[in-house]
């Protein structure tokens, strides 16, 4: 029997290179996963996190091929000689995309799938399926088709399927990156209970650290400051790692020089409660005076006999970045599609870049609006990135120089690269560059940060801010509160088929129970970002003195 602190998995000098790749995915990884631990693996896209996780159940190298060095021993078995199928009873693996891992047409059968493959006796199987359904709180979903479930529900079914195998180790590859905040919270709550109540060993990789960092007891940073990974308790590793991916309260603690930066909002309240700040920044209403670029007047949209939007009006002006937020099904994407002329409206009118969509039809809008769908790679079909831009220029009859546009988005050196070979962040920027050819006055973005790492989000915020300065109006559907606080000029909150709030980020996000930033939860008022607080601190001598004394106390 495995007891706490016995190793469940050991990686010894593991290196891996994908077939036909010229560089290693990762090199010389050596660490141990102890029984009952909750390990969080972090690092930028392309740092080898997913590949490393796939070593733990033998998908690397058995499924992916390539050059594999060193050895991985999981549950006493060497993955060189034991493949993923054989390890599936010991290692449960949950993938990033909830749509591409469920096989059967009933939730109940999905949970039993692995047990059937392993020839588990029927009585035992029924008991384990019931236990998994109950534990994950999805008993009510047992007869449903997986295709009808939300993303969060699907991930919980995938976890239940893994749990039913009674694995020694549960490995999850960015399990919440495709989910909305509520779905993500459900999944992380489940992981926490599995680890704390059942003692299940968990290894998870994720970009959004605010929810997971406080729950992890081991933090593994890939591609650390010296190109060497860091491993240890979060409190030890956090002060040494790059600040960009850290949750805002932790980043603030680092910026203030605290040797033990807080990992949670609660800890931040405790450690920073005495921080003397000046008056909070004023929550001025939005006051853009630019020309109206998108004019939505009292529209009603019905989908599947349900009213999704009712009497919604929105006027987007040049130079505005309007973030459209709201729970799933609140009509965010429908509103974006209506502005783009892709969604017919039952009542009201939409005028976009001067085109009355009711009168002239969406055809008149063709090529006059930049639109990046959720999957940015949907746009690419050429073998070279530069050809994608040339294609847009040709179909729009634009005289823009594609090389100049690529340079502007920091992609000049990738002009000859295949668009699908680019990293996630590069792809998103490439999509932006592709649709911004011809300088459209309106840019529409549908959840652009889904699955994006923290470094790429910073880059995206920077590019969007530049576009705003150039007078481009931007409408962005997103769940990412921190991104909105960082770069939006206006927030439109949808609910109950209508607009429930419309104003500047400080007006809408301040004091909100669900749509606000970590910093606002700590400091209240209209403080939203780390930069707000740092700017405030620098203006008050008392605060600086206090920080010095806290540093000394640390």
């Amino acid at each position: 029997m495995t007891t706490a602190n016995d190793p469940v998995a050991t990686l010894d000098s593991v290196s891996y290179r994908y077939p036909e790749s010229r560089t290693d995915a990762f090199r010389n990884e050596s660490w141990t996963v102890n029984a009952g631990s909750f390990t969080l693996v972090v690092g930028p896209s392309g740092s080898g996190k997913s590949s490393l996780l796939r070593c733990l159940n033998g998908l690397v190298p058995h499924f992916s091929g390539g050059a594999f060095g060193g050895q991985v021993v999981v549950d006493g078995r060497n993955t060189r000689t034991t493949g993923p199928r054989d390890l599936s009873a010991s290692v449960g693996f949950v993938f990033q995309d909830p749509e591409s891992q469920l096989v059967t047409d009933r939730v109940e059968d999905e949970i039993a799938f692995g047990l059937e493959q392993h020839g588990v006796e029927r009585g035992t199987m029924r008991k384990r399926v019931e236990e998994a359904l109950d534990y994950l709180g999805i008993e009510h979903l047992r007869g449903r088709r997986p295709g009808t479930l939300s993303g969060g529900e699907r991930q919980r079914v995938a976890i239940a399927s893994a749990l039913a195998m009674h694995p020694k180790l549960l490995v999850l590859d960015e399990p919440t990156s495709q989910l909305d905040p509520w779905g993500a919270e459900d999944v992380i709550g489940v992981l926490n209970r599995l680890n704390e109540d059942l003692g299940l060993t968990v290894v998870v990789t994720e970009h959004r650290l605010d929810r997971l960092l406080p729950r992890a007891d081991v933090l593994r940073v890939m591609d650390g400051p010296d190109g060497v990974g860091l491993t240890g308790a979060p409190a030890q590793v956090v002060p040494l790692m790059d600040t960009v991916p850290l949750p805002p309260v932790t980043r603030l603690g680092r910026a203030l020089g605290l040797s033990s930066p807080p990992l949670t909002v609660k800890a931040a309240r405790a450690s920073m409660s005495g921080l003397a700040l000046p008056l909070a920044p004023a929550a001025w209403p939005t006051a853009s005076t630019g020309k109206v670029v998108a004019d939505v007047n009292g529209i009603q949209v019905r989908l599947n006999n349900q009213i999704v939007l009712n009497d919604v009006s929105l006027h987007v002006r040049a130079g505005e970045l309007v973030a459209v937020m709201g729970r799933n099904g609140s009509g965010k994407t429908t509103l974006l599609r209506a502005i783009a002329g892709l969604q017919s409206v039952q009542a009201g009118s939409v005028t976009t870049v001067g085109v009355d969509l009711g009168k002239d039809g969406p055809e008149a809008l063709r090529g006059r609006v930049g639109y990046v769908p959720q999957q940015a790679s949907s746009l690419f079909f050429h073998e070279r990135l530069i050809d994608e831009l040339r294609f847009t220029a040709r179909v729009r009859g634009a005289a823009a120089d594609p090389h100049t546009v690529l340079e502007r988005f920091g992609l000049g050196r990738l002009a000859e690269s295949h668009p699908l070979d680019l990293s996630g962040g590069e792809r998103e920027r490439a999509a932006l560059a592709t649709v911004m050819i011809g300088q459209p006055r309106l840019l529409l973005l549908d959840e652009p940060t889904r699955g994006m790492d923290a470094w790429r989000k910073v880059e995206l915020a920077m590019h969007l801010t530049e576009l705003r300065r150039d007078g481009v109006a931007i409408v962005m559907v997103t769940h990412d509160v921190e991104l909105v606080a960082a770069c939006a000029s206006r927030v439109v909150l949808l609910g109950n088929a209508g607009i429930v709030a419309d104003g500047s980020p400080r007006e809408v996000l301040s004091g909100s129970l669900t749509y606000t930033t970590q910093i606002n939860k700590v400091f209240g008022g209209t403080w939203l970002t780390v930069e707000d607080v740092l700017a405030g601190v620098s203006t008050t001598p008392e605060s600086e003195a206090q920080i010095r004394s806290e540093r000394d106390a640390d």
């Binding site: 493949g83 993923p84 096989v103 009933r106 039993a112 047990l115 295709g147």
Partner: protein, 351 residues
């Protein structure tokens, strides 16, 4: 007798029975009746059907029907009812345009559309998981493949729409076949990504696990037997179908018996790898399943018999003269038993 769901095998029998007359001839009475029956069964079972994202299949089928009719009218310059004439000098389309070609094109279109509609109905109502359990273990991967493919279809339909919209907003116009490259390439790339992800997930979940807990080691000779048996079986059934279509009843029966026997033998006597697999859910075969299966197989038998003894019952051509099709009333009445699924349906009691 009433049921809120039918066994997947019963649905397969019904689908086979509905498709058989469509494959054997173009008699308008038969086509019309089968189309009506399929539409009624779909309407009755709609509450339990999940066809989200599947409408595009029917739109594609309808497009093919329209294109097929136009193609037939413009390229088949034969028949006794001339409705128009194009200059002889025009390549391919030049010559007389006839009502014969028009009617034949429409009948072909109805047959194609009904086949798609029947296939869609079956694919929606069949439980791939149940099939996975009831198929012989050697053939179980087919059910998993079907399940995965069926799960991918709505995603593919959604991806098609999203890519088309994104390319349209970019400024692209869709005028000819080549203009669809900007949709097809990202669609294939995305599909490949999803396929790899699904294959990884199947591996990671132990699909085809090699831990066979004391079972016999895999035998190469059994693998060869299985492969030869499958080729012989499927080949025999294909030959049987061809012979049936051209009216060679004796050879059709002979090839069918050989093919069926070959499949039965390999399924029965070649154990599958991973044969330690167990079943979570036991499937109940109910009287409604028996009724639907028996009536379907009876309909197939009658259709095949009538095709041999009275070809005009199913066959119909509009060339060289456009005449009224013959009516085989007894056979049409027998085909009516394909309404059995609609008769046995009872909504599930709500708790």
């Amino acid at each position: 007798m009433g049921a809120d769901r039918l066994d997947s095998r019963a649905w397969l029998c019904w689908g086979l029975a509905a498709m058989t007359p469509l494959l054997l001839g173009r008699n308008p009475w038969v086509l019309g009746e089968v189309l009506l029956i399929v539409a009624i069964v779909r309407a009755v079972w709609r509450p339990v059907m999940s066809e989200q994202g599947m409408g595009w299949f029917l739109r594609i089928a309808a497009t093919f029907v329209v294109v097929g009719v136009i193609f037939n009218v413009l390229t088949v310059h034969s028949g006794d009812r001339v409705i128009a004439e194009l200059p002889e000098g025009w390549p391919i389309v030049g010559g007389i345009l006839t009502a014969n070609a028009l009617v034949y094109g429409v009948l072909g279109g109805i047959a194609l559309f009904t086949l798609v509609l029947t296939g869609l109905t079956i694919a929606t109502l069949v439980s791939w998981t149940d099939l996975f359990h009831v198929l012989p273990r050697r053939l179980a991967p087919i059910a998993v493949t079907g399940s995965v493919a069926w799960a991918f279809l709505p995603q593919t339909a959604v991806a098609w729409r999203e890519i088309r919209e994104a390319q349209t907003m970019r400024g692209h116009r869709f005028r000819g076949a080549r203009d669809f490259v900007p949709i097809v390439v990202p669609l294939l790339a995305g599909g490949l990504d999803r396929s790899l992800a699904m294959a990884e997930a199947l591996e990671a979940r132990g699909f085809g696990v090699s831990e066979r807990m004391g079972r016999q080691p895999r035998s190469r000779s059994l693998d060869w037997t299985f492969a030869v048996g499958v080729i012989l079986g499927l080949g025999g059934l294909a030959v049987a179908a061809y012979c049936l279509a051209v009216g060679m009843m004796f050879w059709a029966i002979l090839a069918g018996v050989i093919g069926g026997a070959a499949l039965a033998v390999i399924v029965r006597f070649t154990p599958a790898p991973g044969s330690s697999r167990t079943r979570y859910r036991l499937l109940a075969w109910r009287s409604a399943d028996s009724l639907v299966s028996v009536t379907a197989l009876l309909a197939v038998a009658v259709v095949i018999l009538r095709n041999g003894t009275s070809p005009a019952s199913l066959a119909y051509t509009t060339y060289p003269e456009l005449t009224w099709p013959s009516v085989d009333l007894p056979m049409l009445l027998v085909l009516g038993i394909l309404l059995a699924p609609a008769v046995v349906y009872r909504p599930a009691a709500t708790s």
